[in-house]
Each structure stands twice: as C-alpha cells, then as structure tokens.
C-alpha cells in the first residue's frame, strides 16, 4: 500500500509541477535554454501573419518565424505597464521599419492574470499592434517564475530550441538603446543584421 501511495505522490507531483509554490519555475535566466511556452493560436489574422505560425490549436515560441522573440509580461492592472506601453509600441515600430530587423525580431505580450476582455482592453487602449495573449489563470506567469510586471524576456530561436539572452524587470529606458542592446546581446548582427 505504501508503494501505491508513493506512486500517487509521484503522479500528483508531476501533475501540479508548474503550479505549486514548490513547483513554480524560476524566472528565465540569460544563457539558459528557454522552457517552451504553449500559446493559443492567434485569433486575429494579422497576428497569425505577423508570427508566421502554422495553423493549429497552439504553438511554441520556437515556432514563431523569427530569429529573436521579445516577450513582455504585462497586466492591464499594472500602472508601470500602462506607462511603458507607448515605449513598447515605439520598439515595435522601430523594428518593423528597420529593413534588417523586420521579420527577424518579433514581440509578443503575455497578459498575466488578465481575461481575454481585459487583455483586449489593454491592446485597444494603447493601440498595441503585436499579439497579447491573455493568461487569466496565471498558468504562463507561473511558468515564467511569477515575475513582476512589466518584465521583458529576450529569446533567440535556434532551430528546435530557444535560448534566453535577456531577462529583466522594469522599464527599459531609451527605446533605441534598448533595441541596440537586444541586437547586441542576441548576436543576430553576426547573421547579417546591422546594429
């Protein structure tokens, strides 16, 4: 009977791994392989096109058609995210208007604790053009180590795996400098992208 209880404990541990205080993942660290997130297939056509993900119920970060993916963890209820929103939009515009970066660097948002409606309120309010995925029950947020918001994670796709090269809380300061920093840290300039 003890043996069966041990097996039960093992099954429960695996089932609840990302959701318990003990099992909450640590925030991503620069240099480590990124633990892939499963995200729902985008509802909007423009977002599907932007990410270049193939039709299906879900996709992973590595499936995004980009060398670099910037993930912003945000919340409609977070005042700093509200203040930062225009700057993240500026970052998006700078990337999109740069012939060397457009298509190679992409941004997504994870709206921690926000319902679909709340995430949509945020994107409408700040005219956010990149996809923002609601995470109403904090599932993704827990997998990202319950980071405070806004939090930025720079991820470089390397074939079947992805690697974290940037992971930091808070406002990123000057947008142009931040973009240069991202390019430099991701080392994609070595792949034909100029600083």
């Amino acid at each position: 009977m003890i043996r069966f209880f041990k097996i039960a404990l093992l099954i429960a541990s695996v089932a609840i791994f990302p959701f318990t205080e003990v099992g909450i993942a640590n925030p991503p660290e620069a240099g480590e392989v990124f633990r892939q997130l499963k995200l729902p297939f985008p509802e909007k056509k423009e977002h599907r096109q932007y990410l270049g993900v193939k039709k299906g119920e879900s996709f992973l970060i590595r499936d995004i058609e980009a060398d670099v993916v910037i993930v912003e963890v945000l919340s409609m209820y977070c005042p700093f995210c509200q203040v930062e929103a225009p700057k993240v939009n500026e970052l998006f515009s700078m990337i999109q208007s740069d012939g060397n970066l457009n298509g190679k660097v992409k941004i997504i948002g994870i709206a921690a604790g926000n319902s679909r409606y709340e995430a949509e309120v945020f994107t409408q309010k700040y005219a956010v053009q990149f996809p923002v995925f609601p995470d109403a029950d904090f599932t993704i947020h827990k997998m990202l180590g319950e980071v405070r918001t806004p939090y930025f994670i720079g991820i470089k796709n390397e074939g079947k795996k992805s690697r974290v090269f940037y992971s930091k809380l808070g406002a990123f300061g000057d947008t142009g400098d931040f973009l240069k920093q991202l390019i430099s840290m991701s080392e994609i300039e070595n792949q034909g992208v100029s600083k």
């Binding site: 429960a12 959701f19 921690a112 409606y117 918001t149």
Partner: protein, 201 residues
Amino acid sequence: MKKWSICFSVAAAMTVASCFVVSSVYGLSAAYESNIYNPKDLKPTDSILKVAKGDPAPDFSLPSVAGGLITLSSLRGKNVVISFVPAAWTPVCSDQWPGYNIVKEIFDERNALLLGITVDNIPTLYAWTKQMGDLWFPVLSDFWPHGKAADSFGVLRSDGMAERAIFVIDSHGIIQYIDVHDINSRPSLESIVNALDAIVQ
C-alpha cells in the same frame, strides 16, 4: 486493479487540493515592489450581506482622498459602481484600481461613476493610491467610525477589513448587482461592464 484505482484517486485528490494552496500572484506590478504586505490566502468571504439586489443602497458620507465628503444619495441620476477593497498595500487590491483607471470611458459611456472605498485612513490611502498614478475616480475612506459604510452593506469582515466587493447601483439608488468576491482574487472587469450594460439596456 483496486489498488491502482486508489492510487489514481489519491493522486487526483492531491492535485485538486494543491490548486487551493497556490500562492497569490496578484500585486505583481513593479510599481509596488517591496511595498506590499502579503497576508497570504484569507478566508474567501467573512461577512453576511445586509442588502440584496432591488434594495435601496444604504446611504453614506465618506471623506475623499481628494478632499471633501462624498454622499452616495447626492449622486442620483448617475449609475454608481462601488468597489470595496480590503486594505491598502495588500496584493490583490494594489492590482485592481489601476486597471479601472484606464477605462474611464467605459464608465462614462454607461453614465456611471466609480467610487473606491477601503477602511484605511486618508493618509494611508493618499500614499497608496499615489503609486497608481492619477486616479480619475474618488477614493473614499471608511476608517471612522470604522467600516460603518462597509458594515451597512454587510461587507465588513470580522478582522475589520472590508470584503472585496462590487455593488452596482442604478441612477435611482437601487442596488442592481452585487459581487462579494473571493478576497484572494480580483473580479473581472467584464463582470462590472456586463452589470452596467444590464442597467443601461
């Protein structure tokens, strides 16, 4: 076979149970880093409602952080949303009103005013709400007599905090929606919007 059945039952029970002991992940904005006291999970509700949908809302006059008194009955002609939150500088509360702060137009379009109320005193509320930016809606102190307004609605908890509760009151002063929410989680914005839409229609 029976043993395996017991094994999986135990596993399932442990998994379900674990869902109720997760840490609170609200109050996650960097705006409050190091300033938030985490009381951990509390009893979801701890009071008995004294009002019901269809009742006239109990009147109150409470001091506002911006100065002056606000009297509920003086707001007739407007729909009023009252957001009671338990306490300043606590996790969920700190990530609730900043969201309302970016949707003034949602309230305006529905002829609605929002009143935020806690049982904290004015200086505490001043310091706390300053972290949220300039709030467009009045923040009222139900500090003294302690929790009198919350108690008149039946949302004063036994520890002196208010429940996390939403009351939607129509332009005639009648309560049209009540959500005494689990204190450990935030009511969704759409629940408030839907309640207002039900009145407007």
